[in-house]
């Protein structure tokens, strides 16, 4: 059983350092490699489930919390991951309305964007290492990518379809 306070702080940190999307690489480093609270399979499964949930995709953290420490863990992880960042955002928007044209704000934005790109690509690599471990899996990921990229089909439909294909293939 994990110490809930340590657990809470870990998720607060993870929430505050994820930029412009999902930082799967850091989630894995902290939850799997460093603390061993969950395993790599749970990380990938939770991420997939998160794509199917109504609401933000990173509700995967609820799943990770539950896997590691039951219901208290799930609530702790969710609150820690989303609470502080929401607070920062609400404060930022009120400050922003006063200083949006400041040159340093523009510079900060330009510095942040390439960084965000590197973070999200690293996350894709980490997920691929766990999820794409066979040729059929690679093919499935490729087809899903083309569908999402080239058509307007809802991503939840693609994820559910891939689940059916996975079950049929016995991945």
């Amino acid at each position: 059983m994990t110490d809930l306070w340590e657990f809470f702080l870990a998720f607060v940190r993870l929430g505050l350092i994820s930029f412009g999307g999902t930082n799967v690489a850091e989630l894995e480093r902290v939850l799997v490699l460093h603390h061993s609270w969950i395993d790599a399979r749970t990380l990938a499964n939770g991420f997939a489930l998160g794509q199917l949930m109504p609401g933000p995709n990173m509700l995967a953290v609820t799943h990770y919390g539950y896997a590691a420490a039951g219901l208290p863990g799930a609530l702790t992880a969710t609150l820690g991951f989303y609470g502080p960042t929401a607070l920062v955002s609400a404060t930022a928007v009120l400050i922003w309305q006063r200083h949006s044209t400041h040159p340093w704000v523009v510079a900060f934005r330009n510095a942040l964007l390439p960084f965000g790109g590197g973070v999200i690509l690293a996350g894709a690599l980490v997920l691929a290492r766990t999820s794409v471990n066979s040729w059929p899996a690679a093919l499935l990921a490729g087809v899903a990518f083309l569908l999402l990229w080239r058509t307007r089909v809802n991503s939840a439909v693609v994820v559910l379809g891939a689940a059916v294909v996975g079950a049929l293939l016995g991945l």
Partner: protein
């Protein structure tokens, strides 16, 4: 990703302006609806639609809020909810909006977690295969979300170098994020510091 901007017909609200101003409670309800319609992503697009159709925000104000949500740490869709709520109804508005956008998924995820993780001896093989298939598609979802982010960052001066180095540091070398963040942002701020003539 509001690529749907052009594809959305203007929501024809007859000018019976009986729209009450947003309160924390009505915001919470709006965001519960956004969450329920946003299965598989696209929450910002749904948020925009819901706000504009009620006449609670102009397109410009939304675009600005959306950009800002990209820049703050944390998950975009939830930050967006917090910002919209704060703009429209202050602190309580932010709290109500965040609770609204989180609650449906939280309950659903708890139910699914109890079922999938509560099995002694792990999941039945069929379900494991299904989840593996879903994980492949989830990776594709992440990649499609990554493309626009990478493209925008690539266009900034010095962007490609920073993007590749951050990718190598985090993805290949598995370094801690914080030092990488400090070095990466520091380099970016140096390149783009105000007062330089481009």
């Amino acid at each position: 990703m509001t690529q749907a901007g052009a594809a959305l017909p203007p929501e024809d609200e007859p000018t019976t302006s009986t729209q009450p101003a947003p309160t924390p409670l009505t915001l919470a309800r709006l965001f519960v609806g956004v969450a329920l319609s946003g299965i598989g992503g696209g929450l910002p697009a749904h948020t925009r639609r819901a706000l504009l159709s009620r006449g609670w925000m102009t397109d410009e104000a939304f675009a600005e809020t959306f950009t800002l949500a990209q820049l703050t740490p944390g998950p975009n869709a939830v930050n967006l909810a917090a910002m919209v709520g704060a703009r429209l109804a202050g602190r309580m508005g932010a709290v109500a909006s965040v609770l609204g956008v989180l609650t449906p998924g939280l309950l659903a995820m708890l139910a699914v977690s109890v079922v999938t993780l509560g099995q002694p001896g792990g999941l039945p093989p069929l379900l494991q295969s299904a989840l593996k298939g879903a994980a492949c598609a989830a990776l594709a979802v992440l990649l499609t979300a990554a493309l626009p982010v990478v493209r925008v960052g690539w266009g900034v001066r010095g962007g490609p170098v920073v993007t590749v180095l951050v990718f190598l540091a985090l993805g290949m070398l598995r370094l801690d994020l914080l030092p990488v963040l400090i070095v990466g942002l520091g380099a970016g701020l140096l390149i783009h510091r105000p007062g330089r003539k481009p």
